[in-house]
């Protein structure tokens, strides 16, 4: 029994011992499997997982550059940046947008207008682009949100630099404005450079000089935790801030131009003929660009868009008007230069002109006629018949060729976005676009700046400046120089100019003298703007909005306002050493001499410091 028990116990001990040894083998096998897996993870695929780990924690963050400021020629700030706190929502990171917004309303005032803007921006946004639900948060609101921010993933307070335009409507058509980047903007920009940037130039100088003003985006490598919170910066490439722009524009002159134009619809462009710099550029009526920056409400935008006098319409560079008689000095110069006329050549003006063998009468603005007219009188009195005859002599091809020299029919290339080219008609244009042949009668009315001929005030001012410069055509421009913020020196933008060649340079003086007499001669169409302080050379113009019949007589009072003639005036002063060239256009303003010329005089006074025009009530002068 005892031995049996002992044997039994020994056998059991052996059995269990074997099983425990087997178990030990299983343990070793199990640990081997685990260690093999770890070997694979830690040694074989280490690089892969190391990369994933870095990807997890290191994020590249764009640091947007601050936008360059814009100053006028005297250093007056025209476009500023001011910091503003906005409550931004990244829709892709928010679970339930409606609930989130409801919850936010409990913390921060969100008005219907904010929601409307949010909805609008939402439609146009890029993926993962944060869009503001509230702007201009007060410090209290920022603090209140900060306390509860953990409840709102995807919502954050962002300090943005918001553009503002201290001069408001006065510079709106010149500067344009910036707005939030939308899908359309994305198509034309380098997306990587705009990572982190919220605003982009939408028009005017802001758009034309976008590359200078924007700068280059910077980057920082940041370490983030699993919730995306930034813990520290590992490395950074600072952004290159946008450069400040200095314009030729003089805000005081701009103000004077705006006041001179008054309640009229129209445009004024003043250029320094020596530099091509735009001293003033006004398009009236205008608008306040500031609401556009933060996203103007739909109703306000519709109101502006549908207003009958079209305040958003930039008449100075997009308004295309028949230049009327203001074109006559250029055609006269062409006649001289190409040898069609001399100063002694005369034309008899009976009050109308007819082509040989035709009965149609092309009328002169003065029904009684000017009698015998030479080039000087033709310009001083703005005799249509003289220029009918000259245009007829030159023909459309020569006219087109010569006027092209002065930039008509082409964009001037001024650094304001959205400029239109006007229209300098030609045989080829009419055959190509209108599918019609060119009629001789069309050459005649082209000679007085009517018909198909269209020019923008900017083109007229540039051409006038070229005249003042005796043929040196300088591309007009707003920006004078750009400066890296804080730098001592600025970089001046290059001047682009070319010389209009004519065989006898004395011809310039002939035309300039004639234009001076428009103001100085007792017979001149703008004689009432004569200044005792300096000499002005100018040319009046009246451009027809609609054509009157052969037997009818144009009477302003009988014509609806929007069909009345546009009043134009081009001028430069002082005649001996021109420092300012001006083109004035008053929509439906009537006669150029009566309406546009005094406006130009006031502007020139403001610039050259002349004594003001006293007898502005006089409506003398024709055309």
């Amino acid at each position: 029994m005892l031995a049996n028990s002992l044997e039994e116990r020994e056998r059991e001990r052996r059995l269990v011992g074997t099983r425990l040894a087997t178990a030990a083998l299983f343990v070793l096998l199990g640990l081997g499997v685990i260690l093999f897996q770890l070997y694979r993870l830690q040694l074989e695929y280490h690089d892969h997982f190391a990369a994933l780990s870095t990807e997890n924690r290191v994020k590249i963050q764009p640091v947007p550059p601050s936008r360059g400021l814009i100053f006028d020629s005297r250093g007056v700030l025209l476009a500023d940046n001011h910091p503003s706190f906005s409550l931004m929502i990244t829709i892709e990171k928010v679970g339930d947008l409606a609930t989130t917004i409801e919850a936010l309303k409990g913390l921060i005032t969100i008005q219907d207008s904010d929601l409307a803007r949010f909805e609008r921006l939402k439609r146009k946004r890029m993926r993962f682009q944060p869009i503001p639900i509230r702007q201009n948060l007060t410090p209290e609101e920022v603090a209140r949100f900060a306390v509860d921010s953990y409840r709102f993933p995807g919502v954050e307070v962002q300090a943005e630099l918001i553009r503002s335009y201290p001069q408001g409507p006065l510079t709106a058509h010149v500067l344009g404005y910036v707005g939030r980047i939308n899908e359309e903007d994305l198509k034309r920009i380098d997306k990587s450079n705009y990572a982190g940037t919220n605003f982009i130039g939408k028009g005017g100088v802001e758009l034309a000089h976008e590359d200078v003003l924007h700068g280059r985006v910077g980057y920082q490598q940041v370490e983030v935790n699993a919730r995306g919170r930034i813990l520290r910066t590992l490395a950074s490439t600072p952004p290159i801030p946008g450069q400040d722009l200095y314009l030729y524009l003089d805000v005081r002159l701009q103000q004077a131009a705006s006041e001179a134009l008054g309640a009229n619809r129209g445009a004024i462009v003043a250029i320094d003929p020596r530099t091509g710099g735009v001293l003033a550029m006004v398009s009236q009526p205008t608008f306040d660009p500031n609401p556009f920056v933060e996203g103007i409400s739909q109703t306000d935008y519709q109101t502006l868009l549908n207003a009958p006098d079209r305040p958003l319409y930039n008449r100075a560079i997009r308004g295309q008007y028949p230049p009327g008689s203001t074109i006559k000095p250029f055609i006269g110069l062409g006649g001289l230069a190409l040898g069609f006329i001399t100063t002694r050549k005369t034309v008899y003006c009976p009050g109308y002109f007819s082509l040989p063998g035709q009965t149609h009468r092309f009328r002169c603005w003065r029904r009684g006629g000017h009698g015998t007219v030479d080039l000087e009188l033709g310009i001083v009195q703005s005799c249509d018949v003289y220029f009918y005859a000259l245009a007829n002599q030159m023909g459309v091809d020569k006219l087109h060729e010569f006027l092209s020299e002065f930039g008509f029919g082409r964009r001037t290339g001024v650094d304001i976005a959205g400029e239109l080219a006007g229209l300098l008609p030609s045989r080829a244009w009419k055959e190509g676009v209108r599918k019609q042949t060119w009629y001789p009668g069309e050459t005649l009315i082209m000679g007085i700046g009517q018909g198909y001929f269209l020019a923008t005030p900017m083109q007229l001012a540039a051409a006038t400046a070229a005249l003042a410069n005796k043929g040196r055509f300088i591309q007009p421009r707003l920006a004078y120089a750009r400066r890296v913020p804080g730098a001592v020196t600025a970089t001046v933008f290059p001047m682009v100019s070319r010389q209009i060649q004519i065989p006898n340079p004395g011809d310039w003086d002939i035309i300039i003298d004639a234009m001076a007499k428009v103001v100085e001669s007792p017979k001149g169409t703008a004689k009432h703007i004569h200044s005792p302080d300096y000499r002005i050379a100018g040319k009046t113009g009246t451009s027809q909005v609609f054509t009157i019949g052969q037997k009818e007589r144009y009477e302003a009072a009988k014509v609806p306002m929007h069909l009345r003639d546009h009043a134009l005036f081009i001028a430069f002063a002082p005649v001996e050493d021109p420092r300012i060239a001006v083109a004035v256009l008053v929509e439906n303003g009537g006669s150029g001499g009566a309406t546009a010329a005094p406006i130009a005089r006031r502007l020139i006074d403001a610039y050259l410091g002349g004594s003001p025009l006293t007898h502005s009530g006089e409506t003398a002068g024709g055309d």
Partner: protein
């Protein structure tokens, strides 16, 4: 702990059964303890050193995984002290006493499991806790000890290898609590409890045919289990099969864990320098996924060292089992040691992506007291077994 309270006065019970007829001494509980003070305290020096090393390492890793929060280290140290005290207390209980109490404790444990299902607290969607007002604990933890004790008791009554009736008895004794625990639901603990019973059968020498048959039976049972799983448990298994299917949802744990381990490389990113853990990409980093922190900060080298330490503890446990004096002790010691290994295997397998995610902590390292106290109690039993071994009996 109730067990400890209950048996405190019984540690020096007289043992009237003449198990050792050669000794001529029927009361060997009074046999004077030999060796140094460790032996007098019924502690096994190699095992104790291994456990203390693991506990120390645990504090080092928790300090890092818990973002240098000293309070966490202190809390864990307090738990470790409590667990070691319990181990010391249990080491004083004579194994025969354990054997005698097995069935009663088993009954108590199963009753408490039923109570948990009836009235227990709900935490994380599962009823696991019993709240006695002054103390809250998981009865399922007791079962981790009681099931090996009871099954060992059941098999030790007759010569090994066990016959079919005993195998069936063990099967029932194991599956009843395992099923109750699985119903809480706590799949991880149920798995550990079930494995304790199965391991006892294995050590007891059940024929391979039967073991393979049993495994086959369990595999056949799988579809049935699947039907009773909670949604989150099913998601875990599906995620395990393809973690990339939901990289931000349920697959996130395992992906981030693998990134943490893999990016550790050979030598690791250094203590306190694990980016995955410190930047909170790694979830549950101081509890179930602490192994990933070790892998990230100490690299393959650190993992090898840790595994060597574990192997030492397991090896010592198996040695104690092999050298134990009677069948009950051998089965109990073997089962407890191998359950410890199952802990290790399931946790490291899950963290490294070899097994689906089940809530099993890394034994003695993970932050938290529940499993550690149970494990230490088990090691207390091992020490009790080792230190009661009669020297006169050694060369039998």
């Amino acid at each position: 702990m109730p067990i400890w309270v209950a048996v405190r006065s019984l540690t020096r019970v007289k043992q009237p059964v003449a198990i050792n007829p050669l000794s001529g001494c029927t009361d060997w509980s009074v046999e004077p303890p030999q060796g140094g003070w460790l032996s007098r305290l019924h502690l096994d020096a190699p095992l104790l050193i291994g456990l203390l090393a693991l506990c120390g390492f645990s504090l080092v890793v928790i300090y890092s995984a818990g973002d240098r929060e000293w309070a966490m280290v202190e809390r864990q140290l307090a738990r470790q002290t409590l667990a070691l005290a319990l181990m010391l207390a249990i080491a004083q209980i004579h194994p025969l006493q354990l054997k005698r109490w097995s069935l009663a404790l088993y009954g108590l444990g199963v009753l408490m499991l039923v109570a948990v299902l009836a009235i227990g607290d709900i935490g994380k969607g599962a009823q696991r806790w019993l709240d006695f007002g002054f103390i809250r604990f998981q009865p399922s933890e007791i079962l981790k000890l009681v099931v090996p004790m009871t099954t060992a008791w059941a098999l030790a009554r007759r010569p090994l290898p066990p016959r079919l009736p005993d195998i069936l008895l063990v099967g029932i004794l194991t599956l009843v609590p395992a099923a109750l625990i699985a119903k809480q639901p706590d799949l991880g603990t149920a798995l550990l409890v079930a494995s304790a019973g199965i391991l006892v059968l294995f050590i007891a020498g059940v024929r391979w045919r039967l073991i393979i048959g049993l495994l086959g039976f369990l595999v056949a049972l799988a579809p049935l289990v699947w039907g009773h799983l909670q949604d989150y448990q099913r998601a875990r298994i599906l995620t395990f099969l393809n973690p990339q299917s939901d990289p931000l949802g349920s697959g996130y744990h395992i992906i981030q864990s693998q990134i943490a381990i893999g990016s550790g490389g050979l030598s690791g990113k250094g203590w306190l320098h694990g980016t995955q853990s410190h930047l909170e990409f790694l979830p549950e980093r101081h509890t179930d996924f602490i192994f990933a922190v070790i892998g990230e900060e100490f690299g393959f080298t650190g993992i090898l060292a840790l595994m060597a330490l574990y192997l030492f503890v397991i090896g010592r446990g198996l040695m104690i089992a092999a050298r134990a004096q009677d069948t009950y002790e051998r089965l109990l010691a073997g089962s407890l040691t191998l359950v410890f290994f199952v802990y290790l295997f399931v946790n490291t397998g899950m963290v490294s992506g070899l097994l689906p995610v089940v809530g099993v902590p890394l034994p003695l390292i993970s932050y938290g007291g529940t499993s550690m106290v149970t494990l230490m109690a088990g090691f207390g039993m091992l020490m009790a077994i080792e230190t009661r071994r009669s020297r006169r009996y050694q060369d039998v």
